[in-house]
């Protein structure tokens, strides 16, 4: 990704993309975050992790949150899911302030977090059973969600019998079975290998197409963020603040071939600038080990 490539401005949107964003803005606001602040207390004193975070997520919108490591993107999503307390500001779900975790706000973690003692089906039924429902209706409903993620054959398998990608599909089905207003995903594919990750991204878009849910997706993978999202919230570190909220100009439906389209590359270029601002002299850095330099010469 270099500057001399002739790339369009990432802010330029084709008419259909612009129309799509216009329609999204018309949709009701699901989640509203106003002036959110998070401070951690440590023996060295108070540390501000997040500061002045304000944004809105509309119905069925897909928003990614990216930022350099330590910018508090995981903390942000955990606050929104109700797993961490707020130091200041408000989080409103459909206009109501949220407090603590709830089944309205689903969460998919990087570490799968399936209940190992329950079969795939029972895992998916967990949320339904906790809400006081039981019986064959719950079971068939769970099977529908398992079908949606393509794991019907494994309904009676235990999580330890599944691969990482399959586990994460179960975790998604489990969250969606509760029919949450909003689904938070905290680097859900971070532990998967590149091929599985690509598959999972396609799966996720497919699922999202079929389900009425707003998704907030934390990742550190720029391609993933662009490929999946409508908008990308870019945070900066120390303190964690919103740096930019980018509307992705890549048209839908998304396709892996778009990874090399000019709009995609332009967005990626912009994101790289935001996250890894280039410092002068950085590229001249050489390892002082002569042996390594010599080996490098041969390769080139």
């Amino acid at each position: 990704m270099s500057d001399h490539l002739d790339l369009p401005d990432y802010r330029e949107q084709s008419p259909e993309v612009a129309a799509r964003f216009a329609s999204i803005r018309q949709r009701p606001v699901k989640l509203e975050v106003c002036g959110l602040e998070k401070r951690f207390h440590s023996p060295e004193g108070e540390r501000v992790v997040l500061q002045d975070i304000s944004f809105k997520a509309h119905r069925r919108e897909f928003i990614s949150i990216i930022g350099p490591s330590g910018c508090g993107k995981s903390t942000l999503i955990r606050i929104l899911a109700g797993l961490e307390t707020i130091s200041g500001g408000d989080v409103l779900l459909e206009g109501n302030a949220v407090k603590g975790p709830s089944r309205e706000r689903g969460m998919v973690f990087q570490g799968y977090t399936l209940f190992p003692w329950l079969t795939v089906k029972k895992n998916v039924m967990f949320g339904l059973e906790v809400s006081g429902r039981s019986g064959p209706a719950v079971e068939s409903e769970a099977m529908d969600w398992i079908n949606l993620v393509g794991l019907a054959r494994y309904a009676n398998a235990y999580p330890s019998e599944l691969s990482g990608g399959m586990k994460q599909r179960v975790a998604i089905a489990r969250s969606l079975a509760n029919q949450p207003q909003i689904l938070f995903m905290d680097e859900p594919f971070g532990a998967l290998d590149a091929q599985t990750r690509a598959q999972m991204q396609a799966y996720l878009l497919q699922i999202w197409k079929n389900v009425d849910v707003t998704i907030l997706f934390v990742t550190h993978d720029l391609d993933e963020a662009i490929y999946l999202s409508d908008r990308i919230l870019v945070l900066k570190a120390n303190p964690g603040e919103i740096q930019e909220f980018i509307e992705v100009p890549v048209p839908r439906p998304r396709d892996p071939e778009q990874f090399i389209s000019p709009t995609f590359l332009a967005t990626k270029n912009r994101l790289e600038h935001l996250i890894h601002p280039r410092q002068p002299g950085q590229e001249q850095a050489r390892l002082p080990i002569t042996k390594m330099t010599a080996a490098g010469d041969e390769v080139e």
């Binding site: 899911a81 109700g82 797993l83 603590g100 975790p101 709830s102 089944r103 706000r105 689903g106 969460m107 973690f109 570490g111 977090t113 209940f115 190992p116 003692w117 329950l118 079969t119 967990f126 949320g127 059973e129 906790v130 809400s131 393509g150 054959r153 494994y154 009676n156 398998a157 235990y158 999580p159 330890s160 019998e161 599944l162 691969s163 990608g165 399959m166 975790a171 489990r174 969250s175 509760n178 938070f184 599985t196 598959q199």
Partner: protein, 461 residues
């Protein structure tokens, strides 16, 4: 350079952190039991390895020495010659007509004792029964038989020296009885049999076969009137251990789980328990007897005290080890307080809890011996205590081994049941399932066999 060709499945016996093939594992497992046994046999049956003692087959009393040896006693090899020579010197003195300090009844009585020295030998040869030790006629008969060669002792043989003594004494007796129709004992001292014996290990290391045979004999022995038999004692000991352990688990598991779940209970219970566990359970023995009086209650209480406090801390720790993100996930799925405890914490920790209880059952066993000593001695420990005091270690070892085997097999059984109870643990899924497990699965979940396509770990997509 060509590498030495090697079939790919030959693994070195000492490959670092690589599991050995099944048959080698089995071989080593068998060896781990066979080797100590073989060592025991080696030390017991090969005389020149150790054998520092001599086990007496014929004993003799000495004049003016209070230590009395009887057949079956052990004396150090270095002392044995001194002992035998002392007896020889006494005999020489008798032959020289000296050393007759006794007279009349006392002298005659001493001669009876000399004659009876042959009794253990005669019992072992089956010439007389154990009740006939004080039967003079039977003893005379043995001496007559030995002197005339009608009876010949084998294993142990009588030394030529002792045989000569027997013959000489028998002549003395015959000469005396020729004048005395009453067959009274002569008042002139007879010659004593010189002590003899065979090489042996110290009394605390009996031979394997002796342990096995004595154990079998004790197990089947009719107990004395009103006393429990060994199987009854065994059941009683099991009752003490399992009652104490069961009560400790009944009280300790809920407290442990609460402490591991809520910081409130953790801070309320754990500091004191942490302090209390350092007070050794046996220190409370007299107190427990005062509270619970005699019989089984104080014994069960001691096992309880010894197990409970450890159990609470271990269970609390196990509960804290549960992956916290599972609780977070459950919360985002709508689970609240009690749901979290009932649906996440309890099922999540049971496999670890099961392991903890297995280990703590082992702890409970260690308190058994002390528990059975307090108040009125009982159970297997009473056998260990009394037989040990009499130095009948061939009766003590079987009891110790019985306790060990019980603990070992209980633990093995529980370990093997684990995959049945928790089929979802990675260990259970990775394990090759035996017929028992397959049968259990078939009974509890027929779907496993109805389903035509078994799940594999590969993703089909």
């Amino acid at each position: 350079m060509k590498r030495a060709s090697r079939s790919s499945d030959t693994v070195s016996w000492f490959a670092i952190r690589k599991p050995l093939p099944g048959e080698r594992r089995l071989l080593l497992t068998v060896l781990s039991f066979v080797l100590p046994l073989a060592l025991w046999c080696l030390v017991s049956y090969v005389p020149f390895i150790w054998h520092p003692d001599i086990k007496l087959t014929v004993a003799a009393d000495r004049e003016g020495v209070t230590t009395v040896y009887t057949a079956g006693d052990h004396v150090a090899r270095s002392y044995f010659d001194e002992y035998a020579n002392a007896v020889r010197r006494e005999n020489e003195a008798v032959q020289a007509g000296e050393g007759t300090t006794r007279s009349g009844f006392s002298a005659r009585r001493n001669n009876v004792k000399i004659l009876r020295a042959v009794a253990p030998l005669a019992i072992e040869q089956g010439w007389i029964s154990e009740n006939q030790v004080t039967d003079n006629a039977a003893i005379f008969d043995v001496w007559e038989g030995l002197a005339t060669g009608r009876l010949v002792s084998e294993k142990p043989e009588l030394t030529p020296e002792n045989l000569a003594i027997v013959q000489e004494d028998w002549q003395t007796l015959q000469a005396h009885w020729a004048e005395d129709p009453e067959h009274e004992m002569p008042s002139d001292p007879l010659l004593k049999l010189i002590p003899q014996g065979r090489l042996s290990n110290p009394v605390y290391l009996p031979e394997p076969h002796a342990v096995l045979l004595t154990g079998w004999k004790d197990w089947n022995a009719e107990p004395a009137e009103g006393r429990p038999s060994l199987p009854e004692r065994y059941r009683h000991s099991l009752y003490i251990v399992f009652s104490g352990f069961f009560l400790a688990a009944l009280a300790g598991v809920p407290i442990g789980i609460l402490s591991g779940t809520y910081d409130f209970f953790s801070k309320l219970f754990e500091p004191f328990i942490d302090f209390f566990r350092y007070m050794p359970a046996p220190a409370f023995s007299t107190l427990l007897v005062a509270i619970f009086l005699a019989h089984d209650a104080p014994k069960i209480a001691l096992v309880f005290v010894g197990t409970f406090f450890q159990l609470v801390l271990v269970v609390a720790n196990t509960t804290r080890q549960l992956d916290y993100s599972l609780l977070e996930a459950a919360q985002t799925l709508g689970a609240k307080r009690l749901d979290l405890l009932r649906r996440v914490i309890l099922p999540g920790i049971t496999p670890s809890l099961y392991n903890d209880l297995r280990i703590l059952l082992g702890w409970a066993w260690t308190w058994l011996v002390i528990a059975e000593l307090i108040g009125v001695k009982s159970g297997l420990t009473e056998v260990i205590e009394t037989q040990g005091r009499w130095r009948n270690f061939e009766s003590v070892f079987p009891v110790i081994i019985l306790i060990g085997l019980t603990g070992f097999f209980t633990d093995q059984l529980l370990a093997n049941l684990r995959p049945l109870l928790f089929p979802w643990t990675p260990e259970a899924i990775g394990q090759k399932q035996g017929p028992l497990v397959r049968f259990y699965r078939w009974v509890t979940d027929q779907q496993v066999y109805v389903r035509d396509d078994k799940p594999t770990t590969s993703d089909p997509a």
